[in-house]
């Protein structure tokens, strides 16, 4: 779906890369085809598993929210290929900076679905250990993850240079950093500034945009007259447009970009053109601003169906595989539901443990004072003292 033509528009000449067409048949692309030659059926099956798992967890998330068990849920349906396709080619040493919809990214990085749910239940302000998964925490105030990612990327480059200057060059391969954001956040000033800095300092960062066509209720045509990938040229680095519902194209483009970044050639931008099939969040009603016809049209481009068709026709994968995966996903959703229902809110007193890394006299005194205060009530249970936190927006 191209942006609406505008009298003053300068048409973009960037091609949209695709390796799997709408019917799941392989197409050739001069730039990207070489980057998928080594992908095996096992790899494709892994990608299929990851994508369907994310979608199943996503459905359960919406249900749990509707049942009053989560404060909020942010559906990702439709963006599975863009997320899995961009995370799978990264290395564990590559740091990722998500926004708040990157559930598939988080699962691919080993975050347990229930860990993530704890955040949306309002029981934690984080959810996972960023160092363990090399995945930064979700960003709710969108846009700020871009300067964070660029700053981190600049830091890794500086570390490398400092080690070199000291005569002890690092032997590890250069890291790359991925900043995830969407068409909406692309409009924010700090994203622009990040791109300027990234270019100025050759930061090893991939700006991965999931253009899901809607910034809450603002259509993409309002955000930009041209594909966002076009903007990269203005900063002096490469921008690629890919079919974001084509898992192979996303994997190939990401591999291409990461290789370039690791060679020290600076940032790359990928715009994965995809579609948010569901609501912006569970607090949103898309029927108020977009038409069913549009949703139906994108429904035909479902990334999961496309990969499934490819697995069937090009690789002869049997129905039993898809049935098994569906069963595994249902089991996972059931376990996750049980985990979520069993979650209890954190105790307020735990807060004192997180003020300083080491014991601290003042904090200890305040903790004791708090406990004494709490002990002064007739009713011992402190249900409301541990009110929900997190998910501020």
């Amino acid at each position: 779906m191209e942006s609406r033509s505008h009298a003053g528009v300068v048409e973009s000449t960037l091609p949209k890369h695709q390796l799997l067409d709408e019917r799941g048949a392989v197409t050739e692309d001069d730039l990207l085809s070489p980057y998928t030659q080594d992908i095996t059926v096992d790899d494709l099956q892994h990608l299929y598993r990851s994508m369907t798992k994310a979608r199943r967890v996503d459905e359960e998330g919406t249900s749990l929210q509707r049942q009053g068990q989560l404060v909020l849920w942010v559906p990702l349906k439709g963006q599975e290929a863009a997320q899995i396709g961009s995370t799978w080619p990264t290395r564990p040493t590559d740091r990722l900076y998500p926004s708040y919809r990157e559930h598939a990214v988080a699962f691919e990085r080993g975050v347990e679905p229930s860990e993530l749910m704890r955040y949306f239940r309002g029981h934690t302000a984080g959810g996972w250990d960023p160092e363990k998964h090399n995945l930064n925490l979700y960003t709710v105030v969108l846009g700020s993850q871009a300067p964070h990612a660029v700053g981190y990327a600049m830091g890794t480059a500086l570390d490398r240079k400092a080690a070199e200057d000291a005569g002890t060059p690092l032997e590890t391969e250069p890291e790359a950093v991925v900043a995830y954001f969407g068409d909406g956040a692309s409009t924010e000033g700090e994203v622009h500034e990040s791109m300027v800095f990234a270019a100025s300092y050759d930061a090893p960062v991939l700006f991965f945009i999931q253009n899901n066509q809607w910034a809450i209720s603002v259509p993409f045509a309002t955000q930009s007259r041209v594909p966002l990938a076009t903007r990269a040229a203005g900063y002096g680095f490469e921008g690629l447009r890919v079919d974001g519902n084509d898992i192979l194209a996303v994997v190939a483009a990401t591999r291409y970009a990461l290789a370039k970044i690791r060679r020290g050639e600076g940032p790359v931008l990928i715009e994965a053109e995809t579609y948010r099939m569901g609501a912006h969040t569970t607090a949103d009603d898309p029927t108020k601003y977009r038409k069913r016809e549009e949703e139906d049209q994108w429904g035909l481009l479902d990334p999961i169906e496309r990969l499934k068709e490819h697995l069937r026709t090009a690789h002869g994968v049997a129905d039993s595989f898809f049935e098994t995966v569906a069963q595994e996903n249902d089991d996972l959703a059931r376990r996750m539901r049980a985990d979520v229902l069993a979650m209890t809110p954190p105790e307020f007193v735990d807060r004192f443990e997180h003020v300083y890394a080491e014991p601290h006299a003042l904090v200890a005194a305040e903790r004791a004072e708090y406990l004494e205060y709490q002990a002064g009530f007739e009713d011992a249970s402190d249900v409301h003292g541990t009110a929900a936190e997190g998910v501020g927006a």
Partner: protein
Amino acid sequence: MSQVFMLPDVGEGLTEADILAWKVSKGDTVSVNQVLVEIETAKSVVELPSPYEGTVQELLVQEGDTVDVGTPIIAVSSGEDEPAGGTDPGYTGTVPQNGLAAGSSPEAPGAPQETSADSSEGQPLVGSGPKADPVRRRRRTRAGAPAAEDAAPGQTASTPAEAHAGDEAEHRHGWAGKLSRTGLGGAAVDLAERAGRIRERGGSLLRTLEEGVGEQTAVPRRPTLAKPPVRKAAKEMGIDLADVRATGDGGHVTKRDLLAHASGAGAAGQPSGGRASAGPQVSDERVERLKVKGVRKATAQNMVKSAFTAPHVSIFVEVDATRTMEFVKRLKQSPRMEGIKISPLLIVAKAVIWAAERNPDVNATWADTEIVVKRFMNLGIAAATPRGLLVPNIKDAQDLSLRELAGALQELTQTARAGRTQPADMQGGTLSITNIGVLGADTGTPIINPGESAIVAFGAIKQKPWVVDGEVVPRWITTLSGSFDHRVVDGELAARFMSDVARIVEEPALLLE
């Protein structure tokens, strides 16, 4: 054992929802995530999936009810402790009665959630909804508890302050009493308790505050509390805020109060203070009480706003529409119009556009210090839809050919009837038509759509005796009426405009001019 599902906050910070349609009924077997009910919140229409597996024992709220977040809406038997093989769909009665009562009875004691949430799975109602997570004060132990200092010695069951609070809740229609009866329970009693303490210490200010709201004659009135937009609206409507019954927090006059007052509802001498929702729920089968919400509410607000800000003047023209009827008939047979619905409304729409081009000042907005005359016509068409009256408009109707206008009219009405009218379709209207004739009405004095200065009502077309060239002959006659904002449009201009509309209806060929 019953598992009770309480209405969750499905948005962020929502307090209530309307029950639209139940998808299950008593006795149905439900599975986890099966859709139970469709609800509408201030933000969206959503389906609630079942958190439980089992048999529906009871639907605890009815379709059409507006219920607070945290209200038990359905009871589902867990099936675990039912005798093997026996699936008794009957309601076992283990749903706590106070849970049931909370939705319907004003006498329900406060804080029903605490008692109804006996099932561990039903308990957590996470969310930012204020009702889901009520604030309440916990009681301190006797030793050194600051609250006890105010209590009279020897009182153990209740402090005088609490007794006072209870007294208030039961016998006075004060704000605290009302609050406690709307389900905030503990919080309200706590507020009343605090209020009582302050009063005992001689807090005369608070006394004035409470009594000023409750008994308006005894104490000199303090200035009415209202937010600036409400004050502005009141000023524009020529209403003294002191006359308006206040239902907002802390005795604030809300916009709703103002509108209620303007529409006459405020005159129903109820004691003031307290919340509108705590109003009488007297069971009276001779009247039906319909909740005001959605499109009805928006229509009411718009109409009151228009009726009380724009001085309306109405003009009627009776006109011979025989040639319009013939023209419509010819158009219907024209191959160029194939597949497009043609009706006399099309000619009237065209006539209104034509007449507005000749009298541009009717296509305008009053903006206090200036009159904004539009050089374009976004022609509004009042449409009865499943959700109520909507006035979507045809953008830049002045640029459309007869065929394009017919197509636009058809799409507009189809979209409206299907309930798919988008908010943007209703914004930016400049002049409207209401087709009351299709309902058999002859004429009327329509109310102008806010932001516009004119509206034309198109009455029924009927065969009547008419004098043509000195002879009485049967002709197709209709009445066109128009209402105008007299601040913008004087009687003369209104008459010119209406007679121009009538000229086209009488002789559509003039469109070729």
